[in-house]
Point group: C2
Chain length 333, copies 2
């Protein structure tokens, strides 16, 4: 048990080579000022080097860091560590989570990405609706050929994953008159879905999608989920958007389908290997537009929003309540 007024040691470990998304002392202090009652329970250190990490981790009660840093520096001797908060939503890089000290809670920053990812997902739907991946291919070929399109109202958006990453996009899509079908692990209603089905019904709903939006976590269950057989269940006119993890989709099967015109188009932010290797066929696949894994990360708001989520969870932990961002290591999200 923690003494109700005792202080706990928090270490923040930034990656040594990071330039854009650093949790600086100024960003930390601004967040602490937004949560004074919780922040006053913490004594904070902030490091970037391995030496700084090892100097702090032995006595740390809490750690805020990046999945890549945790992956590189654990296991380690951290006998007091109770909470690791990672500034990522997808913690698949840490699976199967056996690096972590036993009994230590692992938290993601789900809730950070909504607004930025929402605009990106909306953009990707509208790009597919307006044949922009096809026109990108035509531009490379110096081919001027009209293809008209209609407004998105009445078209179907199938959302594989209906969490924070997808939420704003689904809301925008509904406001434009689209029909939204959500696929989630456990069936439940969702405020921005017309219909929600379980993962077991995926094959039944894939043929209904005009657009497939993938934002689900990468877990043993979702790895390779969109395999060649399931991709073939999509309409030839359907568009695919992947903002989650490349390994959820059989990338080679997707490229095959696009290259032979068996799919309307794809807008991809993630790939099976990142950075995408120079010899990858993805670069030149027809009707495929790509971004370098940037869809959901807004440098201005990323760490402030992450720290707000950390403080909210830490405050609940201090009150003995369950933490909403705690990962279930059995399911991986």
């Amino acid at each position: 048990m923690i003494e109700p007024t005792g202080q706990l040691r928090l270490h923040i470990q930034n990656p040594a080579d990071e330039k854009i998304f650093l949790i600086t002392d100024a960003i930390w202090q601004a967040a602490a000022n937004r949560h004074p009652e919780v922040a006053k329970r913490l004594v904070v250190s902030n490091g970037r080097t391995e030496a700084e990490f090892h100097a702090a981790i032995g006595s740390a009660d809490l750690l805020i860091s990046w999945t890549g840093v945790v992956r590189a520096l654990f296991p380690t001797n951290a006998p007091k560590l109770k909470i690791i908060f990672c500034t990522s939503a997808g913690l698949d890089r840490l699976a199967p989570f056996d690096l972590l000290p036993p009994g230590c809670a692992l938290l993601n920053n789900s809730g950070v990405h909504g607004p930025k990812a929402g605009e990106w997902g909306l953009m990707a739907i509208l790009m597919l609706a307006n044949h922009m991946p096809l026109f990108a291919t035509q531009q490379r070929e110096r081919r001027y050929e009209k293809h008209f399109s209609r407004v998105v109202a009445g078209q179907s958006l199938l959302a594989l994953g209906v969490g924070d990453m997808a939420g704003h996009t689904l809301d925008y899509a509904r406001r434009l008159g689209m029909k939204v079908i959500g696929v989630r692990n456990r069936v439940a209603t969702h405020p921005h879905c017309d219909e929600v089905v379980g993962l077991a019904q995926l094959d039944a709903v894939l043929p209904r999608a005009d657009y497939l939006l993938i934002t689900c976590p990468l877990t043993p269950q979702t790895r390779g989920l969109l395999d060649r057989r399931r991709l073939a269940l999509l309409k030839p006119s359907a568009g695919l958007i992947n903002m989650a993890r490349g390994a959820i989709v059989d990338q080679d099967a997707l490229c095959d389908q696009l290259d032979r015109g068996a799919l309307g188009g794809a807008v991809l932010d993630v790939f099976t290997t990142e950075p995408l290797p120079p010899d990858s066929r993805v670069w030149t696949t027809r009707n495929l537009v790509m971004a370098p894994h940037v869809s959901s990360d807004d440098p201005e708001s990323y760490n402030p929003r992450s720290l707000d989520i950390f403080f909210r969870n830490f405050g609940m932990w201090l009150d003995g309540k369950p933490m909403p961002n705690m990962i279930d290591v059995k399911t991986g999200y």
Copy 2:
């Protein structure tokens, strides 16, 4: 004067080679059924060949056609013609309007393009906000290099033209928290603009734009308006969207600026020459994404919406009221 119950002859002339946007008898009849009181005043013929045109135009009171057809078949002997309704918003191809019978009213279909153009404009803003033109260039170069971006809230959209083409985009932009500055010929407030300035203030507002959305008509006043000097007034990070007419922008100056990184990006649907010639530098200009003049035309709704606008105007004319879609041949819009 028209007798209050007399019938008038309407001729519809489709282009001989058109396949997608034909005004068929079925589309006409469905529209007539939506406007029975006005439609019953019309006796209608529908042609595609020159012979059909000449057989009908001599006795026609009204003509519904395309700017290209009118351009090709006028002047002609049409002594009874009172109204020409063109199924385009921009009638610049008919300028200086001296082909038309004296006293004949010329109408455009402004009001048709809003919903489709609105989604396209929103898409283009989000593409520029998310560096998609840059990533298209990187994709062509097999270069994987991250560039992050923030949400559009708080950013400035400068709208050159605030008519039907822009309206929905401005509404969406405002709902995403953008600041909208409208530029129009006559200063007036606008429901989706935070601020409206006259064309004479253009130079003063160009440096404030994060995005410049061009939807104004091509007139002697707007031809070449975005010349090299004015393009240089834009921020180096600004994005340019042209959904209006290519000749409003100095295309060569725009390509120069993009190629040397002096502008954030461009999303273009229109060009100084269309179809874009195979040897145009536009195809390979850096950070430039293009579409083949399709941004605003939804094949499903285009003619139904056009005919609704025709019926609304014709009904007002029967009542002796001014027609809202009538072009002022002095200004060209």
